[in-house]
């Protein structure tokens, strides 16, 4: 949709293209150069998810992937089971996602998958599978969520956090 609009209203200048490409490639370079930041993020992410699920901490992995128009964080968090439902989660449930035109991200593992969107500096947001959509908070989170129908007991939960891309308005 975005590309159609771009073609309709005229392509962005090559300098605008260059600026956007540089923004993404430098973000990707900076992330590769900050393993301590990635470690801290991984620790915090596991901690948040652990409020809702039992996770296999030893096999958790977080990487960043430079996709066509954005940088995505890919977290592979093996889930061993759900926490007791009687225990309320510590954090409030997140907002429903606005519609996004982006193509579906490749997902490898079978089982429940949750896609959460967040800017790199903010906390990743995870959802409990049984929660229905809640009323949006004051600041809408940019997030997309896809679930497979059969949640096996021991599953690999894959969280895609999609840091917001600023779009053409920032160029």
């Amino acid at each position: 949709m975005l590309e159609f609009l771009q073609r309709f209203f005229g392509r962005p200048s090559s300098s605008a293209t260059a600026k956007e490409r540089l923004r993404l490639v430098l973000l990707s370079d900076h992330l590769s150069l900050a393993p301590d930041v990635v470690d801290a993020l991984k620790y915090d992410l596991i901690e948040v998810i652990s409020r809702y699920c039992d996770v296999d901490v030893a096999h958790c992995d977080v990487t960043f992937e430079h996709q066509d128009k954005q940088i995505a964080m890919l977290a592979n968090i093996p889930i061993l089971g759900m926490r007791d439902r009687a225990k309320p989660p510590a954090a409030p449930p997140p907002a429903p996602p606005p519609p996004l035109a982006a193509e579906p991200l490749p997902l490898g593992a079978a089982g429940a998958t949750a896609l959460a969107g967040a800017a790199p500096a903010t906390e990743p947001v995870a959802e409990t599978p049984a929660e229905p959509a809640s009323p949006p908070p004051a600041k809408p989170a940019r997030k997309r969520r896809r679930r497979r129908p059969n949640a096996a007991p021991a599953t690999n939960g894959t969280t895609h956090a999609v840091p917001g891309t600023p779009g053409l308005s920032s160029i």
Partner: protein
């Protein structure tokens, strides 16, 4: 770790019996003369012409071949990952959607040139020659370990030189270091015929009077190279670009399809345009 294979990146199959490919290092000594742009464009032109081509970025720590090609978003692994056997070669090769027979093997961005074992790199180039018709290696600036690694395994070299005293001096140094056992050819880049005519820039003859190398081509300075790098679209794929045309001709000289001497861009006078004369 989820590292999903993007389905259309089918690797170039290793054929059963195949003529061994050529390994050519693109070097200069001086930085910023157009090695990476040349590697990208020659690779694209050769592959568009039907050859199986792999481009190897040897500039560990300061990689740019990926971004010049517009493939920076598709790089997942790099040369060191392959040399350290963390991934297979096929997993590391990046396909180019515009040119199906072109592959990129990126450099590591967060490592150093000293991390590359020269013999390992030589072995990698050798195995790439078994699978591709052309292995083009983008050499970093300088004459230290990065240079030594890049030339390992390449028995041909293209020296890129701009018509400026510093570049010629550095190219001369590099020619000396490349030694006697390599075929070395010259590309003169960023010529400005108007300045040459006014005596404000060295001519191709001035340059090659010092370097004494067979000339592959002469590329005129043109702003569309900057635009093409902005967009990540090599000019060699643009049928309307004169610089692209020059790169395509150089590719044909490399394959042997073109045997005429390279044309030296000149400031075209009115009479030239009228009669189409060539020097």
């Amino acid at each position: 770790m989820i590292n999903d294979v993007i389905a259309d990146e089918s690797p170039v199959a290793a054929p059963v019996a195949r003529k061994r490919g050529r390994a050519i290092v693109v070097t200069s000594g001086k930085g910023g003369v157009g090695k990476t742009t040349t590697t990208a464009n020659l690779g694209a032109a050769l592959a568009a012409g039907g050859a199986a081509v792999v481009l190897v970025d040897a500039d560990v720590g300061l990689r740019n071949l990926d971004i010049v090609l517009g493939l920076e978003a598709r790089v997942r692994h790099h040369v060191l990952d392959v040399l350290e056997q963390k991934v297979t070669l096929d997993e590391a090769l990046v396909a180019d959607k515009r040119v199906p027979k072109l592959r990129l093997l990126a450099a590591a961005q967060t490592r150093e040139k000293d991390d590359v074992d020269t013999e390992g790199f030589r072995g990698l180039i050798s195995s790439l020659r078994d699978r591709f018709d052309y292995v083009l290696i983008d050499c970093p600036a300088g004459i230290e370990k990065g240079f030594t690694n890049a030339i390992a395994g390449a028995d041909e070299a293209i020296v890129v030189c701009t018509p400026e005293v510093s570049a010629v001096r550095d190219a001369d140094r590099v020619v000396g270091l490349l030694g006697e056992n390599r075929s070395i050819k010259l590309i003169v880049n960023r010529l400005r015929p108007a300045l040459v005519k006014r005596g404000k820039m060295l001519s191709v003859d001035d340059v090659n009077g010092i370097l004494h190398l067979p000339l592959l081509g002469v590329i005129a300075d043109a702003p569309d190279v900057i635009v093409s790098t902005n967009k990540g679209e090599p000019v060699a794929l643009d049928p309307t670009s004169p610089v692209g045309e020059t790169y395509r001709a150089i590719a044909q000289r490399i394959t042997g399809a073109l045997t005429t001497a390279p044309e030296i861009p000149r400031e075209r006078s009115f009479l030239d345009k009228l009669f189409g004369s060539r020097r």
